[in-house]
């Protein structure tokens, strides 16, 4: 058994742990304009990132966008997932594939599509102008709203499919029993479906939250130059600023914040599903 697990363990170590360890090591080094970086063991980069109001704001924006997108994905995704899970006909597999359809297009291509739709001279503004509804183009591109909508379109399929898998495992008989005992649809949902779907809600939210926290192409393309989230900020440090130690520290901050919030969130949800 142990021998069988060895290759997988080595693979995980090699592909995941080793780069992370390297990154962590780099984050403790010091930036040097000439050498790029100097060997050191200091928390200086972390302290700088946390003290700098700019990066605090970037982190705040990232959290705001990630929370909004996760919540919206849940609100939109639950009814869709329920509908998908309870579908009976032969259209079910088609509907599942259609749900996945948005993921067939890469993030960059999709964002370009949104740009064509939302831009100053994009399809929506052209339509609004043509109908005489607006005199000036309505600014939609390069707003937080555009980023949230763009990310939502990427993460919604993950939420829907995760929830649908769990909802499908809830026997329909249980819902019928609730109705039979006098529960209207809303009560049956609140008392029976939702509590039984909580593990799926937790899994979907964690997955989507992580995806949102690490979004790169969408915030860059739809948020514009003024808008910053953490992943693009890390990229800037590595590629433009060539400050690897600071970039590594930012990356680790992002990782830790995501991890801590994920653990807190899933602990709360797991606790609720046990107590009810």
């Amino acid at each position: 058994m142990a021998a069988l697990l060895l290759p997988a363990t080595l693979l995980v170590l090699g592909l995941l742990v080793a780069p992370m360890a390297m990154l962590f090591r780099i984050s403790l080094n010091q930036y040097d304009a000439a050498l790029m970086m100097r060997e050191a063991l200091s928390a200086e980069n972390y302290l700088r990132a946390l003290a700098d109001p700019y990066y605090r704001e970037v982190l705040g924006t990232t959290l705001g966008v990630a929370f909004s997108c996760t919540l919206l994905a849940l609100l939109i995704g639950f009814p869709a997932a329920y509908w998908l899970a309870r579908m009976e006909s032969r259209w079910k597999s088609l509907a599942t594939i259609l749900t996945l359809f948005p993921l067939l297009v890469g993030n960059v291509v999709r964002a370009a599509g949104w740009m064509a739709l939302l831009g100053r001279d994009g399809a929506i503004n052209a339509g609004l102008f043509g109908l005489g509804l607006v005199a000036e183009p309505w600014p939609m591109l390069y707003t937080t709203g555009a980023v949230i909508v763009g990310i939502l379109a990427v993460v919604a399929p993950y939420m829907i499919l995760t929830l649908a898998a769990v909802i499908e495992s809830i026997p329909r008989g249980v819902e019928e029993a609730a109705a039979n005992l006098g529960a209207g649809p809303m009560t049956a949902f609140r008392r029976v479906v939702l509590p039984l779907a909580l593990p799926g809600v937790a899994a979907g939210c964690v997955l989507v939250f992580i995806l949102c926290m690490n979004a790169y192409a969408t915030p860059v393309l739809l948020g514009g130059p003024q808008f910053k989230m953490m992943a693009p900020a890390v990229y800037d440090q590595f590629v433009r600023g060539t400050n690897w130690p600071f970039g590594a520290a930012l990356a680790f901050l992002l990782l830790i914040v995501t991890l801590v919030l994920t653990i807190i969130g899933s602990t709360i949800l797991a606790g609720r599903s046990r107590s009810r």
């Binding site: 019928e176 109705a179 039979n180 005992l181 006098g182 529960a183």
Partner: protein
């Protein structure tokens, strides 16, 4: 509690008609069993009463109120599902209290009623367990208790015993019947087990391919079946193809002439004769027959008779040891005798003769 009326109830699907014009009156406190072979529309009928399947046409009245278009939660039926459908995240007590909560019964009364019904269902002390911590039989009783506690106008059960082993099934059968009578519940019970239906129900509804073939007490169905299907489905029956000759004479397809009840006959009629109404004798009145096989079944013995090519089954209590009939063996000649009134002509539809008979 109340009456239940089904009035011309139909349910059609794209390719099949699951239920075709079912009319039924269930009186207050009456226990009616829907009985029939697999796929005859029993579950569909029950689910229409509960509101989970919309009728294609016809009406459903519960306690005189037309609920045909009412949602399931507005019907006041108490259903026991074949799978039990207990809420897995709630304790036994919470499961049972759910219906009372939905009816806004005050806390104190709710607790008292839950305790009472758990006692009735012999579940005392299990109120804090989760369904998965119970045996199958206990889960089944929780499902019963949960449906009973709200005092539904109509009590609905869909093969509630099919997941239990034979011994438990016999016990629970008696328990359900006792509870139903004690609480005076109007009950519709679905089963494909005729013994279950015969032992529990006041009246039985025999269904076949979506239609009601006959409604009546166990005795009425057994003694006076409306057609060959009912005769063959309730208990065992010799069903013989042939043509009536003179009044009181029936010529079987293979040529034997059998005495029967003189009755106006229609073409296609079938002669029905219960195996236990055939007596075997050594001398006296009777048709000469040859024993093709003898099957000892303990309390009873089954005799397969050959009357000049016509096969009949007779059943009799196994004779005591020493009785001459105990020694009957295949190949022996006997006389088969029955009261002609026991052999009746019954209408039949194509497909009514399912077994090797005819």
């Amino acid at each position: 509690m109340g009456t239940l009326t089904l009035d011309g109830l139909c349910r059609r699907y794209a390719t099949t008609t699951a239920v075709e014009r079912v009319d039924l009156e269930v009186a207050e406190g009456e226990f009616v069993a829907l009985l029939g072979p697999s796929g005859c529309g029993k579950t569909t009928t029950l689910r229409m009463v509960a509101g989970f399947v919309a009728p294609s046409s016809g009406r459903i009245l519960i306690a005189g109120r037309d609920v045909t278009h009412a949602p399931p939660h507005g019907r006041d039926t108490g259903m026991v599902f074949q799978s039990y459908a207990l809420f897995p995240h709630m304790t036994v007590g919470e499961n049972v209290a759910f219906g009372l909560e939905m009816r806004k019964v005050a806390r104190a009364e709710r607790d008292a009623r839950v305790r009472e019904v758990l006692r009735l269902a012999r579940l005392d002390g299990l109120g804090d367990r989760l369904p998965r911590q119970l045996s199958g039989g206990q889960q089944q009783r929780v499902a019963l208790a949960r449906a009973l506690v709200v005092n539904p106008a109509v009590f609905l059960l869909d093969e509630p015993l099919s997941n239990l082993d034979a011994k438990l099934r016999a016990e629970v059968r008696i328990e359900i019947r006792a509870l139903q009578q004690r609480l005076g519940l109007t009950t519709l019970f679905v089963t494909h087990d005729q013994e279950e239906a015969l032992t529990m129900a006041d009246r039985l509804v025999v269904m076949e391919r979506g239609r009601v073939r006959q409604i009546g007490t166990a005795e009425a169905l057994y003694e006076r079946p409306a057609d060959a299907f009912v005769a063959g489905f309730i208990g065992r029956c010799n069903l013989l193809r042939g043509t009536p000759e003179a009044p009181g004479q029936f010529r079987t397809a293979s040529g034997a002439l059998l005495p029967c009840l003189p009755q106006p006959a229609r073409p296609g009629d079938i002669l029905a004769l219960r195996p236990e109404r055939i007596a075997l004798r050594a001398a006296g009145d009777g048709l000469p027959a040859r024993l093709a096989a003898v099957t000892y079944l303990g309390a009873q013995t089954e005799y397969h008779l050959d009357l000049a090519g016509t096969r009949l089954v007779a059943v009799a209590p196994t004779p005591a040891e020493g009785d001459a009939r105990r020694g009957l063996a295949p190949g022996d000649a006997v006389l088969a005798h029955w009261d002609p009134a026991e052999a009746r002509l019954l209408p039949a539809e194509p497909g009514d003769l399912l077994d090797d008979q005819a």
